[in-house]
Amino acid sequence: MNIKTVKKQAIPFQETLILTLKDDTFFFVPTINAEDNTDYQAILKWVADGNTIEEAD
């Protein structure tokens, strides 16, 4: 997965991450009960590779 950024959302969507790919398409990825979500798994790997999730605006 070609991840460009991952960003948190403000309340009330603070438990959902905005995943933006390098082609600027974006998705809303759950973090609760999300261990089987392959996008969430990709984000965890992306973070493990040294990247950082941006804070909400």
């Binding site: 969507f13 809303f28 990825v29 759950p30």
Partner: protein
């Protein structure tokens, strides 16, 4: 009271023999249909397998849905055509459940389509759609770490019938229709994602741009059971192009710990000319070993059944109408949407399209068009999202709950829970 009917032949009204007896308890049948309920020997010429029972023929799931979902490429919820597929564009492009993946730095560019068929051997055998890869920018010499392939991923819990990792492990047979411009050897990898094990297979394109039916056998594996869960168990990959990192070993004819160099040994480069196309449809995965003469017929599902099964992994909806409440003087509102089919796992959401708001509290009737501003993801596979949207110009000026009607017929919501 009891009675006995004693006959040696049953004929139809045209005088044709349907069933005959040799007088010693053995019957010969000319029935050519409904073999699924028969228990006698099933003649190959009549669509049977030559085996005494369905179980002996390896048909262990004769009444079940096909293991491959959308193998006839009928369903394409996302789109029917995507252009400019190149480096970094792995993912589901058109047909549901059929994924294009690339590793390394793919130099080629592709157009991927759900192709409507109107002629050819696949069409006359019942397939009206195919997954087509059209090379629009050629790559005559892939880098060593390039690997491009079409793949299908199956859930582990759906694969228990293969009894993998046991002493009763079953063989795998993969059948499909394929048409390619490039003749020569192509490779297939079965990858056990639970145990990181692989086996290879190959098939040859004999005639350029001609539909050919291929049946490829794979050995059983007594090592490494598929997990009984909703994660990825088996990945079937049809290689289209591969660099030397993936071709320098030996194609494994038995299951082994996955070795990159053994992935696509002998693979032709389907990307070496912009004249090249690669089409595939009619994919079926069977339990046991079959030949082109004994492979069971493709199980055609209705479009509705196939769509329903696809929606476990991806669903798109549009045409919403929201009736909700605005809290106090906030400009942000939330509407609740729910998917139709329970997902494999807690899904990822996405949206496009605008929302038009109407505000009874200020007289109603006026429209304010905004895009959705965000989504609150679901907390489980039931797939309910909150969609955020704003009412910038017409926020209420008093506290309390204010009813809002939002015309969201152009809003498109997608749920994705792919493997």
């Amino acid at each position: 009271m009891s009675s006995t009917i004693q006959v040696d032949t049953i004929k139809d009204i045209g005088g044709n023999t349907i069933i005959s007896s040799n007088g010693s308890g053995t019957f010969t049948s000319n029935l050519s249909s409904n073999v699924s309920s028969a228990t006698g020997t099933l003649p190959i010429a009549n669509g049977g397998t030559g085996a005494a029972t369905l179980a002996a023929a390896g048909l262990q799931r004769p009444n079940a849905n096909p293991l491959i979902i959308n193998g006839d490429m009928a369903v394409a919820q996302r789109s029917t055509s995507v252009t400019g597929v190149s480096n970094g564009n792995s993912g589901y492009q058109t047909c549901d459940r059929i994924r294009f993946d690339e590793s390394g730095t793919m130099g080629a560019a592709l157009t991927i389509t759900q192709e409507s068929l109107t002629s050819g051997n696949a069409f006359i055998n019942g397939f009206a759609n195919a997954f087509k890869v059209d090379v629009t920018t050629a790559d005559s010499s892939p880098d060593a770490d390039d690997w491009s392939r079409i793949n299908i991923r199956l859930e582990s819990q759906d694969l228990q019938v293969f009894k993998k990792g046991t002493s009763n492990a079953e063989k795998f047979t993969l059948a499909f229709w394929v048409k390619a411009t490039k003749t020569g050897t192509n490779t297939i990898e079965l990858f056990d994602a639970d145990n990181t094990r692989s086996i290879g297979g190959s098939y040859s394109i004999s005639s350029s741009n001609t539909w050919e039916h291929k049946v490829v056998n794979f050995a059983a594996d007594t090592t490494g059971a598929f997990a009984d869960d909703n994660g990825e168990g088996l990945r079937i990959s049809w290689t289209l192009s591969a660099g030397s990192n993936y071709t320098s070993g030996t194609l494994p004819t038995a299951w082994e710990s996955s070795t990159v160099a053994n992935t696509a040994v002998g693979q032709v480069n389907n990307f070496d000319s912009t004249s090249n196309n690669f089409h595939i449809t009619g994919i079926q995965l069977e339990v046991g070993e079959y030949t082109s003469a004994t492979i069971p017929p493709f199980q055609h599902e209705s479009f509705g059944d196939s769509l329903y099964r696809c929606m476990r992994y991806y669903e798109t909806q549009t045409g919403f109408q929201f009736f909700t409440f605005q809290s106090g003087t906030n400009v942000t509102n939330n509407a609740y949407v729910n998917c139709s089919v329970k997902k494999r796992a807690n899904p990822t959401g996405s949206f496009s399209g605008s929302i038009i708001n109407f505000f009874p509290h200020t007289g109603g009737g006026q429209g304010e068009t905004n895009n959705a501003t965000g989504m609150g993801a679901s907390t489980g596979p039931d797939g309910h999202f909150f969609v955020g949207f704003e009412t910038e110009a017409n926020a209420p000026t008093t506290d309390g709950f204010h009813p809002i009607y939002a015309d969201a017929r152009n809003l498109v919501i997608n749920w994705a829970s792919e493997l």
